[in-house]
């Protein structure tokens, strides 16, 4: 079976990659694109550590075939920061001590970012629901929920363009 060329946009940058048949997006991002922030956790859709945005929609990259990402716009944790300035969610995760080992963090932030993109001032319940597919085995969920709410408050104080 032959490899094929697949092109997509990764964090605003055009990519054209030679991809072996049946490769998962999570592996291509990590191993071919060097975007190691996205984690390969369970491979079952159960932990959310592999969450990335595909055309602005959060998806589990362990269940996405790279060949099906052809023409898509992909955003990973590496694309969350802009011009070396952390995204409010990243700032808040640091400030609220919402990360320990960090394995879940990229997925948590990408799931939370999808929520804030849609609902900039979420209620606590909406944060809990948005993160319900993301598992953290060390921090516990309260600091993570607090960080997302703090990030929403931070973004509300910023001029719209910076969000």
């Amino acid at each position: 079976m032959r490899s094929s060329f697949v092109s997509f946009t990764l964090n605003g940058e055009e990519k054209e990659l030679l991809i072996a048949p049946g490769q998962r997006l999570v592996d291509v991002l990590r191993e071919q694109c060097g975007a190691m922030g996205t984690r390969n956790g369970c491979g079952q859709g159960g932990c959310g550590a592999c969450t990335v945005h595909v055309d602005a929609v959060p998806m589990l990259s362990c269940l996405v075939l790279a060949e099906l990402a052809e023409g898509c716009d992909i955003l990973t944790i590496e694309g969350a920061a802009r011009d070396r300035t952390l995204h409010a969610l990243q700032e808040a995760f640091v400030a609220e001590a919402a990360t320990q080992c960090g394995f879940c963090t990229a997925g948590m932030i990408m799931a939370a970012k999808a929520l804030l993109d849609r609902d900039p001032a979420p209620q606590r319940e909406a944060v809990v629901e948005a993160l319900s597919g993301n598992v953290c085995r060390c921090t516990g969920y309260e600091p993570i929920i607090a960080a997302v709410l703090a990030a929403a408050a931070m973004l509300a104080r910023l001029p719209a363009a910076a969000a």
Partner: protein
């Protein structure tokens, strides 16, 4: 594991691509790719349904048509507001962006939440295969299935009359949890509160979502109150085998079915 990935852009192209050994249709991939990752499935080729024009919701005069590849998340729209409970109880928001309505019909128990809802709605399926297209009631699909070279193209149902829809999913956790039991119903009552007609579908009681004639018969002709609703649940518990899995024992499912039936039908 290497396997070819096909991205056909029409239904006939999907059917053509599925011809041959070890070809698997993939919609959201939440079950297929998971099984490949787990080393439980070894396809020669997968055929993606995502670009075949099978996504979307169309409102007709009396009915709703939903493409089989439509992600569960895309069902969040005003005309389907009655399904909000089904959606919010279904996996996580991220998974709902991927999981398709058609794929849910093939999900192993205790999954199949939207199948339970669609059975209560008396949905029918559009099927396409090498010999053309046909329609089939969902009830028949669960009994007989479809051929390996066929696909489900879409689902159709009539919107339930206002106030007739009921839904409950009993789970171990509040969010993102497979069902202990799922109950969907369309219940029509007359002006005296007597049940004139009822379609009740259950998940968690058999190998796949089922209608419950026992519960329906127990309810019809009675005033819809707590005693009647619990009685319908008791009849259902006696009629369906129930099963044990990581979420609940068969005994537990039978034991709590009358309570959840009452809650589903009356909200109390």
């Amino acid at each position: 594991m290497a396997f070819a990935v096909h991205r056909p852009e029409s239904v006939p192209a999907v059917i053509a691509a599925l011809a041959g050994p070890g070809r698997v249709a993939v919609s959201g991939g939440t079950l297929v790719i998971r099984d490949i990752n787990e080393g439980r499935s070894f396809p020669n080729a997968i055929v993606s349904l995502r670009r075949a024009g099978l996504s979307g919701v169309v409102r007709n005069a009396e009915t709703i048509d939903i493409g089989a590849a439509t992600p569960i998340a895309d069902l969040a729209r005003p005309e389907l507001a009655f399904l909000d409970g089904v959606l919010r109880g279904f996996a996580s928001p991220t998974l709902r962006n991927m999981a398709s309505l058609g794929g849910n019909l093939f999900a192993p128990r205790p999954y199949g939440d939207s199948g339970v809802a669609l059975l209560a709605l008396d949905a029918s399926l559009g099927i396409a295969g090498p010999h053309g297209a046909r329609r089939m009631p969902l009830l028949e699909f669960y009994a007989a299935g479809i051929a390996a070279d066929e696909i489900v193209t879409g689902l159709r149902f009539a919107l339930p009359a206002p106030g007739t829809w009921r839904w409950l999913k009993a789970t171990r956790r509040a969010l993102n949890s497979a069902s202990v039991l799922a109950i969907a119903a369309v219940v029509e009552t007359d002006s005296a509160g007597t049940v004139a007609a009822a379609r009740i579908a259950l998940g968690g009681v058999d190998a796949h979502p089922v209608r419950s004639p026992a519960a329906e018969a127990a309810l019809c002709g009675r005033v819809l109150d707590a005693a009647a609703a619990s009685h319908a649940g008791e009849e259902a518990a006696a009629a369906h085998p129930c099963f044990a899995d990581a979420y609940a024992s068969a005994w537990y499912r039978r034991r709590v079915l009358p309570v959840h039936m009452r809650r589903a039908l009356l909200g109390i």
